[in-house]
Symmetry: C2
């Protein structure tokens, strides 16, 4: 098989890199750290976008669009924000090229008075804009989302997981009270968790970040953390309670019902093309992608088996009939009637691309009114009557969706550790998986543990039971376990 | 009316600028030439996007995503392309900020080896990528589209019509033959024309650009030209036959069936948020926007009339019933039950925002089982039974859609001129509208006419009848009339 990939066992990291490229999802570009998202990868992202957008609108949000460029001075206005992003900014300094001695060069006469930053996130430009939108409590809440590209000049990049440019959505909301902004923050992390569970078939832990890992400018950051097959965690979405930090930085006040001026309260929340990485790493196997049916661009592929035109015509007639029945049920079906490739090649290709169901029909099937139905998730096959196959498939797609979720959940739960000593902790982290341990609540201890084990506190789970214990490193008292793991 | 706008008669240009802002479509941002697209404006753009995307997919295209940044050297590879875009490029030269003496400054140690251009259009990065995607005729055609933001450092900007950053789609296709690439180019300009007619209610002339006005790097540029209410033309979409120019610049060859290597043939085509400008300027009036129902975010608004809670409850019950009936028909309806604003204010607001139909229900309507139905396009009202209003509306929305189109068509045709002398030409151009005149086919004459009258050749219409005549300026022989107008 020309497209064979390294196995997960052999080298998980290489397996991922090869899979992304060979399944035609994305590839590296000529621009350092920027990827090209290929049509098949983009089709999955479009399905994610469409569903998320629907969920945002159902929760009262509207889309808008803000500038790509942010004046440099805006960044300085929120101290911890600039601290967080200054080291990885793409900076526009000029606005013209010209013909020079060595060909095309930057025109030194076209230097900007103030440099522009390519947005790494849009809090500053948006809160500058909100200042004009908000005068009174009647203007609140503002519930706006933006689908956009952003740039963070990461030094070590990896397709989907960490790229210099990525696609995302960023919600930016403005509220009259702290309570309302906090509720919004929590509502949206739950939207993300619902999306991960119901569409990506991805179980996630919802929790809050420690001060160390909080978004630059936030009072509280909520996260969803997913476990990958190699036992490492992937932060898959975040929602930030920003308090009045950006309202103060950009002087955004509103008159409340009594006419008194107050600073506005804020949230922001986002998920990105990183979700593509999560989707791939959580479910796929050594044969290729395993896509949950709800996000698969092709849910069913039909492959004809034939030796001559006569057989092809007979098989095609049956295949087209099944295709039409499935399409009438709203299922996305591809009938791969290419004459340039053999069935074996096609089988391998759709396995690699994670198509949930494959139907094969050959001359014998025509005679016997049957077809072969193969599941991508279990790699099992059954022979089924052509009369019932279309009726059977919707429920089967649901079953596959559940099975993929349950498999991921089982893997996560089977690698879950509760540890009480540092030795146990080290061993558990080495094994991989989510590790629940007591921590004394200080940044110093958190950093020390990271230094010793590479494990970080992924979150303080929101449904955490209180439990007295002692910190695994310092022995100091603790009231709850927090979630540790190595992470992407 | 607090939101009153300048009339078209008084100052068309100011009318447009005020309307865009007051109807909550867009506003200028803190970044020179970059706009903020507000939720209401973005909702219209989303409707355009959704429909265009559907039409692209129906014609066999897939979406993908390519990098925002383009290495400077890529631009130099296609000579006329760099000539066309070098003067308006945003250039990224550094990748880090730092704390300096005067606050945050660009870190001189973080200078890029090669500067990156923020894409003004993506031919170069895409053809660099296609080199790896194309080896054989089996890899062709490639039919890819990208939805993206682009930046052109325009010196004089105007909301939607000409902005430094704008949103667009750009199709980039690769073909085995010149014929196929040309057919694709023509197919897509027709898709744009269909979209303009059937969704934007905008009649357009399809034609080819003169050499002067061609896209930088194209052998032929097709355009759709629309007429605005002030008699000026607006180029609304273009489709380019690129020949083998980019394939040669980026060395993209394919092996044909006989194994021979040939350069690949290309097309590219795009429409942008400029279409928002066309939509606004073609149909709107002194009361505000007039939106074609197919692109209106709110197709019907229901405004309750009441003096007390009792009346409100009675009116609401009827309003909600009508709302549900309309929603069941797939119509987008808003019931504006805000208690903070009077009906008169709401009427003016939805007129300003171009909502095609308004239903008002008051206590008397409750008694008589009626409601008042008002059309935005004609500003006419009728009293209609609550029992039939919902059934009446779908056909009425279609009628409004047609009426808006016919009005624009009538305006265009009534201002059409066929002129034979330069004096007639000058007068016709002064009056505004599309002017058909003979031209000798030279760039010199075209430039001279522009210099004298500010009119440009918008296109050579594709369905142009051949007709012997003499150039209005030079008297030299000509075989067909071309389309002149002043343009945005």
């Amino acid at each position: 098989m020309g497209k064979g990939i390294t196995s997960r066992q052999e080298n998980y990291s290489q397996w991922y890199n090869e899979l992304v490229v060979k399944a035609d999802l994305a590839e590296n570009s000529a621009v350092r750290g920027s990827m090209v998202i290929k049509p098949y990868g983009y089709a999955i992202w479009e399905k994610m976008q469409a569903q998320l957008d629907k969920m945002f609108k159902e929760t009262g949000h509207q889309n808008a669009y803000f500038p790509l460029f942010i004046p440099k001075s805006f960044f300085s206005k929120e101290a911890s924000h600039v601290e967080g992003f200054a080291k990885e900014c793409a900076v526009v300094t000029h606005y013209r090229l010209k013909n020079g001695e060595n060909g095309i060069e930057v025109d030194p006469d076209a230097k900007l008075e103030e440099e522009l930053i390519v947005r790494p996130t849009s809090e500053t430009i948006i809160w500058h804009t909100y200042k004009n939108w908000i005068q009174s409590y009647r203007d609140l809440p503002i519930l706006v989302n933006q689908w956009a590209n952003v740039v963070r000049w990461e030094m070590r990049t990896r397709l989907f997981l960490r790229t210099a440019e990525f696609l995302w959505q960023e919600g930016h909301t403005a509220h009259a009270t702290a309570q309302e902004a906090l509720e919004e923050t929590q509502k949206m992390i739950n939207v993300y968790a619902d999306f991960a569970r119901d569409f990506m078939a991805l179980p996630v832990i919802i929790g809050t970040k420690t001060e160390n890992e909080r978004f630059a400018g936030a009072l509280e950051t909520y996260t969803i953390e997913a476990l990958m097959q190699d036992g490492k965690a992937l932060q898959s979405g975040t929602s930030h309670f920003l308090g009045q930090n950006f309202a103060k930085a950009f002087d955004v006040k509103f008159a409340d019902k009594s006419g008194q001026l107050e600073y506005v309260w804020a949230s922001s929340w986002g998920v990105s093309t990183r979700l593509m990485g999560a989707l791939i790493m959580a479910h796929s196997d050594d044969n290729g992608l395993v896509l949950p049916p709800k996000l698969a661009p092709i849910q069913v592929v039909i492959v004809p088996i034939y030796k001559n035109d006569d057989e092809f015509n007979q098989v095609s007639e049956k295949a087209t009939k099944i295709q039409k029945l499935l399409q009438a049920k709203g299922i996305s079906v591809k009938f791969d009637n290419r004459d340039t490739h053999k069935p074996g090649f096609k089988f391998a290709e759709y396995e690699l691309k994670g198509v949930p169901l494959r139907i094969a029909i050959g001359p014998r099937d025509v005679d016997q009114n049957t077809c072969e139905l193969a599941r991508r998730d279990t790699l099992t096959k059954e022979i089924i009557s052509q009369d019932v196959v279309a009726d059977h498939i919707p429920a089967l797609l649901d079953e596959i969706q559940s099975n993929i979720y349950n498999k991921a959940l089982k893997h996560r739960d089977s690698t879950k550790h509760f540890v009480n000593t540092f030795e146990e902790f080290e061993k558990a982290i080495e094994q991989g998986g989510f590790v629940y341990a007591h921590w004394d609540g200080t940044i110093e201890t958190e950093n020390k543990i990271k230094e010793l084990t590479k494990a970080t506190i992924r979150c303080v789970p929101i449904d955490n039971p209180l439990e007295n214990g002692t910190c695994i490193l310092t022995g100091k008292p603790s009231t709850q376990r927090v979630l540790f793991a190595k992470a992407y």
